[in-house]
Symmetry: C2
Subunit: 755 residues, 2 copies
């Protein structure tokens, strides 16, 4: 094919024979085209057609020759932007060909080829924007670490140093017994370092610091999560049940031995048939005034205590929740200290202990079932802070309502709902550290002829990981706020703090679940290997969404609290205030929902914290108002309230989410105001914006349905989320480095020792 005029077909020949998306049909199209060109002689047509005969393909060498010929032409000229431009070059700017642009462009279109894309096959590799991205920190990670750790920096440092010792090498045995004993040994070491009793009163040898206790839980969670849960069961649940529900005599007798791990114990609340609905437990504690004893009894199998940590192997005593029975009267749920094993580890008389067996995760924790057959304990074993039996054998309590007393008791145990989300968040931080560092190193695919590109440069990969990173930072600040409120709580704030803790527990553990799922997939096959630890992080935290209260149930509770707060606020207003309230709401609607705002898409507006806060608050108020109205309508129409609540369950989840997301946003904003270092502030600000906008994006159907935003705005937000991901990507590695997770805790060879 020496005739330059005929060379115009070379790019087409090359493409139909090499592109895997073109099929038989396209051959026919090209044949038809050649046959219909009357500027070609029949002989020329014949020659050309011989190159597109599907029964007689060209040789492999022919294909390479065509490509070489194309490459020899001045293809790198930036002016060459279509197949036709290339054809023209190959024809040496033949005059006949010049006039054929229209029909050749139609041919491209008929073949379904995008000329500007196809041309890339023939260009030498160019530097692309995508290839150019790489890790490059704009700030000092140490400063950010200091900011995150705050006043707890010394205890965090201490814990990291302890779990970096050789005796804390990860246990890799799949034998449950071996693993449990190792976790037991680790617990003893931590107790010896006075970490277990950190929250107990100094008068009983404790550290007297809840803030440090939670920081310990959080930091240990970079390490083995079975250890964290065992630690939490022993020092948190078991020890704290004594501290919160008992009185001096109990502190004196037990706290020191619990804190030193000399007395391993259990927190026996959940029963097989009463998990989330704890009020319904059936275990009984029957008082015998003559003997001054209680008899603890499991009336049926459904009432056995289940999933009890420390029960299957090590526990010596248990705080058992049971219905108190005095002279055949039921006085509601109370708590009792019940010895379950002797010093040799043998079950005591009347106690049947079974092992829960293998679990999805946390197999270093010895969960078991407890079954009591008329087990007798002395009267002083009743934890009597909120209720007691007097010398006459009569029930006494400062809280007359059994219901309210029970919830008051539970309220004192709310610390568990702070420790768990903080532990979950550490797991998310570990997962993100592994996945983001791997994404920065792992290369796959690349521009035609260029080298492969780090997968974190791909937009979809950024979208998988970076919004989760932003949310994790937001949750960090929100959990610090929750901890602060808990430590400085006043009596009348308890309902709010309990609701916030319940909500943050649910929201954070679900967030961790989703983040770790993305991390696993983002690490591909490597993420599936146990050595890279994402599997353990996922499986260990899997139950976090269930224990300490099932998330779905907790979210309903949070929503009920919001509903009650809403009714109180609205109820307390006088007529004038109410008119004002309605007016203000209308005004908000006017200022926020006018067509200029609902369609506003300029960058300054989209990145503006006031816009975010208004949008989050608006959603929070609107969802709770909507549920309140709907409930009223349903009940007024004759539905039982129980049924009415069932109908709106789905909306209740929205109410709780909207509330929690507003709190997180607010705390992220407040945290930003206290960052001193300019560069740290700049990167956190972008991360904050990514959190705010990716949450709005997640909820965009709600905003669109409510007409708070118009499509043009939600589309602009989606683009901005993409842009923020792209902007943050170079700092992403530094942002996970700021979590400062010790290498031996991270323990993932894919990032520590990449091939």
């Amino acid at each position: 094919m020496e005739n330059p005029k005929l060379k115009v077909f070379i790019p087409f020949f090359y493409l139909v024979w090499s592109d895997d998306l073109l099929t038989q049909k396209e051959f026919v199209t090209l044949q038809g085209f050649i046959g219909s060109q009357n500027w070609l002689s029949p002989k020329e047509q014949q020659l050309l057609l011989s190159n597109v005969d599907i029964t007689s393909p060209p040789s492999r060498k022919q294909l390479i020759d065509w490509k070489t010929e194309i490459e020899k032409s001045s293809i790198t000229h930036s002016s060459v932007k279509s197949l036709f431009a290339l054809s023209l070059l190959l024809s040496k700017n033949d005059e006949t060909i010049k006039g054929l642009e229209t029909i050749f462009t139609k041919l491209e279109s008929d073949l379904g080829i995008s000329g500007s894309e196809a041309i890339v096959h023939f260009k030498t590799a160019k530097v692309t924007f995508t290839s150019g991205q790489q890790a490059a920190s704009t700030f000092d990670t140490e400063k950010l670490t200091q900011f995150l750790d705050g006043k707890q920096a010394p205890i965090i440092k201490k814990v990291k140093s302890i779990v970096s010792r050789p005796e804390f090498a990860y246990e890799t045995s799949t034998n449950t017994k071996v693993y449990r004993e190792k976790v037991y040994d680790w617990c003893r070491i931590l107790a010896k370092e006075n970490l277990g009793n950190m929250a107990y009163p100094t008068a009983y040898g404790g550290g007297g610091s809840f803030a440090d206790y939670f920081a310990i839980m959080e930091t240990l969670s970079y390490y083995d999560l079975s250890l964290v849960i065992k630690f939490g069961v022993q020092f948190g649940l078991w020890g704290m049940s004594i501290q919160s529900l008992g009185t001096e005599k109990h502190y004196d007798k037990y706290l020191k031995d619990i804190g030193s791990f000399k007395l391993p114990g259990c927190f026996a609340m959940t029963e097989t048939h009463h998990g989330s609905n704890v009020k319904g437990i059936e275990t009984t504690a029957t008082y015998n005034h003559k003997e001054q004893t209680f008899s603890i009894h499991t009336p049926n199998d459904k009432a056995q205590k289940e999933y009890i940590g420390n029960a299957a192997s090590h526990g010596r005593m248990a705080t058992v929740f049971a219905k108190l029975i005095i002279e055949d009267h039921d006085y509601g749920v109370n708590a009792f200290i019940v010895p379950i094993r002797d010093a040799n580890g043998k079950s005591l008389k009347g106690i049947t202990i079974e092992d829960c067996g293998l679990k999805m995760g946390l197999n270093g924790v010895d969960n078991g079932t407890l079954h009591f057959n008329h087990v007798v304990i002395p009267k002083e074993n009743m934890l009597d802070r909120f209720a007691s039996i007097n010398a006459e054998g009569k029930f006494e309590s400062p809280i007359p309502s059994d219901n309210r007393r029970f919830f008051t008791m539970l309220g004192t145990l709310v610390g568990g709902r702070i420790g768990i989300p903080r532990s979950a968040l550490s797991a998310a931080k570990s997962g993100l550290t592994i996945a983001i560092k791997y994404g920065d190193q792992r290369r796959q695919f690349g521009p035609e002829g260029g080298s492969e590109v780090p997968i974190l440069n791909y937009r979809i990969h950024q979208r998988r990981l970076l919004p989760g990173l932003a949310k994790t930072y937001g949750l960090h600040f929100a959990l610090q706020y929750l901890t602060h409120r808990f430590i400085h709580k006043k009596e009348n704030e308890m309902p709010d703090i309990e609701a916030l803790a319940a909500g943050m527990k649910a929201y954070t553990t679900w967030s961790t679940r989703d983040i770790l799922q993305e991390c696993r997939e983002a690490c591909g096959g490597k993420g599936y290997l146990s050595e890279n630890r994402i599997g353990a992080l996922k499986n260990d935290t899997e139950i976090y969404t269930t224990f300490e209260g099932d998330n779905t149930v907790l979210m309903q509770l949070v929503a009920k609290n919001r509903l009650s707060e809403f009714r109180k606020t609205f109820g307390e207003m006088d007529a004038f205030d109410k008119i004002n309230y309605v007016f203000e709401s209308a005004k908000t609607a006017i200022t926020e929902k006018n067509p200029i705002i609902t369609r506003k898409t300029d960058e300054d507006h989209l990145l503006d914290g006031t816009f975010h806060l208004q949008a989050f608050q608006y959603r929070e108020n609107a969802t709770v108002t909507a549920v309140a109205k709907r409930l009223k309508k349903l009940i007024d129409s004759g539905l039982e309230p129980y049924d009415a609540y069932n109908v709106v369950q789905h909306q209740m989840i929205d109410v709780a989410q909207a509330y929690l997301e507003r709190v997180i946003l607010e705390q992220f904003q407040i945290a930003l105001t206290s960052v001193k270092d300019k560069n740290t502030k700049a990167v956190l600000e972008q991360l904050y914006q990514l959190y705010a906008l990716s949450q709005i994006e997640k909820n965009k159907s709600w905003y669109l349905e409510d007409e708070y935003m118009e499509p043009v705005k939600t589309k602009a937000i989606r683009k901005m989320v993409n842009q923020l991901c792209w902007n943050i990507r170079p700092d992403a590695v530094a942002l996970v480095n700021a979590f400062d997770i010790p290498d031996n805790c991270l323990g993932a060879p894919i990032v520590l020792f990449p091939i």
Copy 2:
């Protein structure tokens, strides 16, 4: 408080002392109220105030007396719908009280109490709608099972009977070695039953049926998934690579021994640094014409074969993908049979095998790495269906393009992308069977004073599980369609079938991931125990989203195929057709996007299959058109195509999803038309509607952004989804029973032996 007039306060006293949502503030409100009522004498006020003194609570007995007094009144009267109505009754319809309705209603409001809800505390339990729901099948499950199994019923029955034998009891050891040997033994049994060679040609002792082979994979997947993957590696990947890429001489030599499991083998494609981007593999096969041999070599650690099933323990040979080098020229990726172990299981010279170690799941499969150090194999070991070396030592192939040849080779292996999603779907069916049956039995919470209610009666629980059930049915039909197309494929349909298989693999495995996550959480703590098998189902299928092609990468490929199809369709139209196309699109927009349709919410319309199909098709076409336009714009503006594709990655996922969801919807509709039995059809129709509407709900932000639907319509769809869940709930247990999973496979004590 004998004065009936004063008794109006009893309900308020009871509530402030017993409700856990009321705090100190509310006491002040109530005190203020009492103090300001001038119809009360100062003495009466004093008496009343003594009952709301926070420092001096009433006795527990007092609280009970109040409640008893309230219950003695005629509270059950349906007329009693507010606290005031109750107060009036207690006052014996006192004339003074009658006039106080307004101020008492305000008091309720000030306290944030919803009277109609609070009243429930005092009513005796009533039958609620929520309590009333229970399992009650409206159809014959056997007929549905027959319909699902279709022509494969006999082989499905056979497989179920085999895996129900005693030797197929689940292996519970956590010792990997023990588990692997057990899986190996199971594979031998299945081979002996002629299940392994089902898809091989009858001329080589096989069953000659792909349809039966896939049904075997699917049915085995109700049982142990390590077995399924080992089975798939041996008979599918290893055996099928010989069948698809080799020629007669290879069939003669190997197929029989592979089918009988006498010759365990591997499929060695993936390399450590080349997972999804297989074209980039670096292993070489260098041809030596003089010796008539190839030398297989791993040039560096990054190029070792990784995650190779059957490699760590049992494999004797492997199909190795390597770049063919002849006289220093690279002829692209080809496949070679390489012996790796001798008959005693010892690695052969030059072969280094390492164990991938413990994984999140599938620990019954012996995944390993393979490293070749100049391993010499005879010339005939090249699988030479698509390329060969002639007697002169020259390369020959009917497909000149290395690229196209490689994708043709991959195309013949597409069966793996059918077996995997069908296996995943079985896992989802197992999870749903466990979770739905448990939800039907497990009771938790209930109406005030009534008994606890099955958790599947809660709307939020229905929402968690039933849309997933509907989707699973839809996927069942869509995967049958994919299988049918694969079995009856014609050459020019291959690109479409490959895209469909890639897409269905990604879509189904992600769906299974989400469904099993919901199932685990829906079973609470019981779902976390290994004995109930959800953990194994989750962890074993976790890697399904990665192997046989990373889902995210596959979805990009699907979208590229759709884009190419779109361009061809559009390109092939002549000018007149194009005008017509634009006109038709506009007409569609006119008929579907006119304000009457976008706002239409009547039940007939929402449940109408034509509406669904139009909505799904519209989204499919609109997303692909949008991406095509955006790509053109980006490239025209000077962006490299590689960068442009990166920018639209997120939208590409939408394109692929919209396409797959349309296919699934269509196949669900087609399946419905062939159901004979009336009752079966009725229940499937509801399930179909739930699938259609819950997908639209999932995508509603897209429909709202596009203005294809208005908020009033998407809200109506949300309600309809809730309603359909509620309607299907009684049939839910029967619908999972229709999967007909043998009890010993299901193996979950929570549903087989509930306490």
